[in-house]
Structure formats: C-alpha cells, structure tokens
C-alpha cells in the first residue's frame, strides 16, 4: 500500500515566464490506493496540480514521477493507460451518443488506424452502467444536464481503465443523490486498488472520502498531509478567509461557516 504512484519533487511552476509562481518547491508523495483531495479558493492552482500530474503541463523546475519513472519517460499512449482525467466540464460541439462518448476512453488502447472492438463497446457500456447512465446510452451528449454530463465524463475515464484518476471538481454539478453515487463509485475504485486525486470546494466531500488533503492558496501549498491532521477548522479558515469550524455528527466530520 505504501508504494508511491505519484511523486512531486520540488516543483516550481508558473504559467508564463516572469509571472508569479503557482507552485514553488512543492513536494508530495501520493501512495497507491490513496485518495487525495485538493482544496483551495478559486484560481489558486488546484487544476494546475492535476495538469502537472497528467503531464499536460510541465514544471519549470523539479520533477513529477509516475510509478517511479519521470513523466517524460512515458509515451502518450502509456500515460493514457495509467492516468485519466475527468474535467469539470467539457464543451462538445458534436452530438455524440453517450455510448460513443464513453467509448473514447478506449483510445489509449487502440492504434491510430484502429476501430473500437466489441470488447471496447462492452467496457464502455459497463462504465455507463456504473455511473447510472446506461439507459440513456443513445442520447446525445449535447442534450443532457450538467450533472449527467459530469457522470458521462467519469464513465469515459472508467472506460480508460487507468490506475490513477484525476478528477477536477467532480461533484460541482451533482445533486445529492448523484454525489452519493459518485462517492460510492470512488470507494469502489479505491477498493480495486486505484488512486484518486480530486479538486473540490466541499470540505465535507473531502473529509468523507480522502485519505490526504492538499490545501492551496495564492499559488502556494499551505498545508498537506493526512486528513485527520490537515482538515481542521483553523486551516480551512486560513485558506478560505472565512471563519470555518469543524465538528462531528454521526461520527462524520462536518463543517460550519459564516
């Protein structure tokens, strides 16, 4: 369990030369099977962390290692078989059916000139079933709600069958029932040995599922570590500039804010 799947070693990152660093000297190790929540106010570099983990952004200094190897030692296809991304929202201009859309998750396993096989279809269909969208498989991806869209993005990532899942605010458009479904899916994935990193604005969601928490503010990582140590009212108050208190209800951590 303690094998590192992802390591950030002394990362520096700025979006443009000369602009302030979004990350500075950031180090962190994420163990296989862990669930990491990244919390922080809007525009503080939460998504940047995901993109660095994905390899879409490269650090200005330092190194990101995936399964002990530097990211740039992998081919794109290899990376796509290990790590998948669930964006918060993805504009689509063409009305793919949900099944065709989930099927795109099979891309890292298919050659440039290949077509998806019956097995790929099965995997995509199972992924849609898992997120509860199988009945709408023939619906257009342009005619579904924001929450359903988010579930379909998750289905595509599930079809990708990766060990590491990077989710950008996965609960932001979901109603309570679907939030609960999403958490159940994430727990299942963790039970299968997968590793999850997600950004969120909801401390409750983070406390319910995460094993570690990273708190970022103003482009700096202020606190990082196990949930029990880091998810405190004082730390949350510090990063959100709003008084937040942590309490407990039915052996669950809950948060109150003014």
């Amino acid at each position: 369990m303690s094998e590192a799947i992802l390591e950030f070693n002394r990362l520096n990152f700025a979006y443009q030369k000369g602009s302030p660093l979004v990350l500075e000297g950031f180090s962190m190790q994420i163990d296989r099977g862990g669930v990491v929540a990244v919390l922080g106010p809007n525009g503080t570099g939460k998504t940047t962390m995901l993109m660095l983990a994905l390899g879409w952004l490269s650090p200005d200094a330092g190194q990101v290692k995936l399964l002990g190897r530097p990211l740039d030692a992998y081919s794109r296809r290899e990376l796509g078989q290990i790590a998948s991304l669930v964006p918060q929202f993805e504009p689509t201009f063409f009305d793919f059916s949900l099944l065709d859309f989930a099927l795109l998750g099979r891309a890292p396993y298919l050659g440039s000139f290949s077509m998806p096989s019956a097995e790929d279809y099965d995997i995509a269909r199972q992924a849609l079933t898992k997120v509860g969208m199988a009945e709408k498989a023939t619906r257009s991806v342009m005619n579904i709600s924001g929450g359903e869209h988010q579930l379909v993005l998750l289905a595509r990532s599930l079809a990708q069958q990766t060990e590491l899942l990077l989710l950008d605010e996965p609960t932001s458009h979901l109603d309570i029932k679907n939030k609960s479904r999403l958490l159940a899916i994430l727990r299942e994935l963790v039970a299968e040995g997968k590793t999850i990193i997600f950004t969120t604005h909801e401390p409750d969601v983070a406390a319910m599922i995460a094993t570690s928490v990273v708190m970022v503010k103003g482009g700096r990582v202020l606190h990082a570590g196990p949930v029990a140590e880091v998810m405190t009212g004082a730390n949350l108050t510090e990063i959100y500039d709003t008084r937040i208190e942590a309490g407990e209800y039915a052996s669950r951590q809950v948060f109150f804010w003014d």
């Binding site: 794109r76 063409f94 440039s112």
Partner: protein
Amino acid sequence: MTQASEINPVRRARLLFVGLTAALLLIFVLSLLAGRYPSPGLLSLEQVQNDQMAHNIVFRMRLPRALLAVAVGMSLAAAGTVMQMIFGNPLVDPGFLGVSQGAAFGAGLSIVFFGSSPWMIQASAAFFACLGLVISYFVAWKIRYGSWVLRLILAGICVSAIFTSLLGITKYAADPTTQLAELTFWLLGGLSAITWQEVKIVVPLVLLCLVGLLLFRWRLNILALKDSTAFSLGVSTTRERAFILALAVIATAAVTAVSGLIAWVGLIMPHLARRLFGADARFALPGSMLLGALSVLICDSLSRVPFAAEIPLGIVTSLFGALFFMVLMMSGSVGVKK
C-alpha cells in the same frame, strides 16, 4: 455481445451507405449520358456504341469530368468534416487556414504574370494553397496566447485576408480584355476544361489522402475534444492534427487547382452527414464523402446540361448550397450549441 441499442445505428448507417453508393452510381451513369449532343437529353447506350462522336464525348470528355466531380466532392466534404471536427467548430470549411484564398491568389498570379497554361495555373494554385496552410501554421505557432485551435483560426483569418488583398492587386494588374475574364472564370470554379490529363494527376493524390483520412476516422472523434482531454486519452494532439490537416489540405489543394473555387460543399455536406449518420466520424466521414460526391456530380450536370452556355460550377454549388443550408438550419440544429 452487441446489443440492439448500438447495433441499430450501425445497421442504419450501413443501409444508408448502400443506398447512397447506389444513388452515386446511378447519377454517375446518368451524368455520362446526359448532355446536349446531339440534342439536349440522354444518350442511349446504342448511340454511345455506334456514334463515334457520342462515344468520344462520353469517354473523353464526360467520364474524366464526372470522375473529377466525384474527387472534388469527396475531397471538399472530407476536408470539411475533418476541419470542423479538429477545430471543434461546425462552421468551418476547407477554405479555412488560407487554403482557398491561397489557391485563388496562386491561380491569379499565374494567369496574369506567368502565362495561363493549365499546368502552370494548377501548380501555382496548389503551391499557394499549401503555402497558405504553412504560413497559418507558423503564425499560429508563434501566437503567444489562446488555445491551439483559436490560434490557428486567428492565423487563418489573417492569412486569408492577405491572400485576398494580393489577389485584388493581381486583378488590378490584369489585362481586362483577356486575363481578367480568365481569372474570373477560374474563381467561379468549374470542370469544363477537365481531361484525362487532370484526372491522372489529381485522382491518385486525392485517393491517397482520402484513404489516409478514412483509416484515421475514429481517431478524429478524439481530436474534436479539448486539447488537454485528447492528451489525457493518449493522443499526440499537435502531431496527429498536423498529419490529418495536411491530408485534408493536400486533397483540397489538388482538386481546387483544377476545379477553381467550389464553395459550400465542404461546409454543408459534413452537417448533412452528421444529421444522417450521427456525429461519430467513423460513419460521418465516409457519409460526408459520398454526399459530397453526389452533390458535386449533380451540380456539375446542372451546370452543363440545361442551358446552351455552361454555368460555372461554383455558382451552382453556392446557389443550391446556401438554399439547402437555410432549410437545414430551419429544420433543426446544425450542431451549434446555443
């Protein structure tokens, strides 16, 4: 284990393909027989066999012309589909990225300054069409903000505008009695001068590009996604897009060099194909190519059969294209999200 829910669209697509291919073959044969010799109407097979003149007209003039019409339609429609998907913009056509305007300028330059041998016009048009793409690409590479797609679109707009201005200067310098007329005719687009010579040069090149695009067609779906998402799905976005765009542009440049500017086909056929086959490029791309071939073949027949004087093909495609697009838009979405 394939279920009814996804076999149906596939079966539907297959049926449509068979239907469209049959229609294309029928129209192809009809277009060989239709014309104004010896009188307006259709030649009989007997006439084609027994009348040497009719035989020559069919096999030396109409056949290469019909083949090239198919090549033009397929290339423009395929390039339109590819570009709309790659740029994530259903309103893009193959003329984007300075390709059409580059070809137009190239043809103009050749007609006015290098003499108007067909070979020279075609070479010059193809060269400047590709140059349009290369410059657009280079400028997009150098723009320091925005996504790759936005940068390419901006660069394409600028490059097209520059070629349009240069074409204007060329027109201004042209001899109004001879060169200007020839240039205008080229700009209106048409297949009246097509012989086997052009077919032999253009068709193999076009075939190569179209086969490449067809092989790549499922992958196109991924390239229609956001850059970072396509990356996360294991795709080398820049390299694969460049490869696909190059195939689309070479096919466009090759046909445009011999046909002149044929508008609207590359914009509308992808929409119609998506309407009939769904958005998945596995079906939409070949569907669009068949529809493109069918429509250009029909328009070319309309341009030469009904009237004693031939109407340039570009005018016919624009007229019917614009009308058809209006109907298409009024009858439902064209894939543009509000």
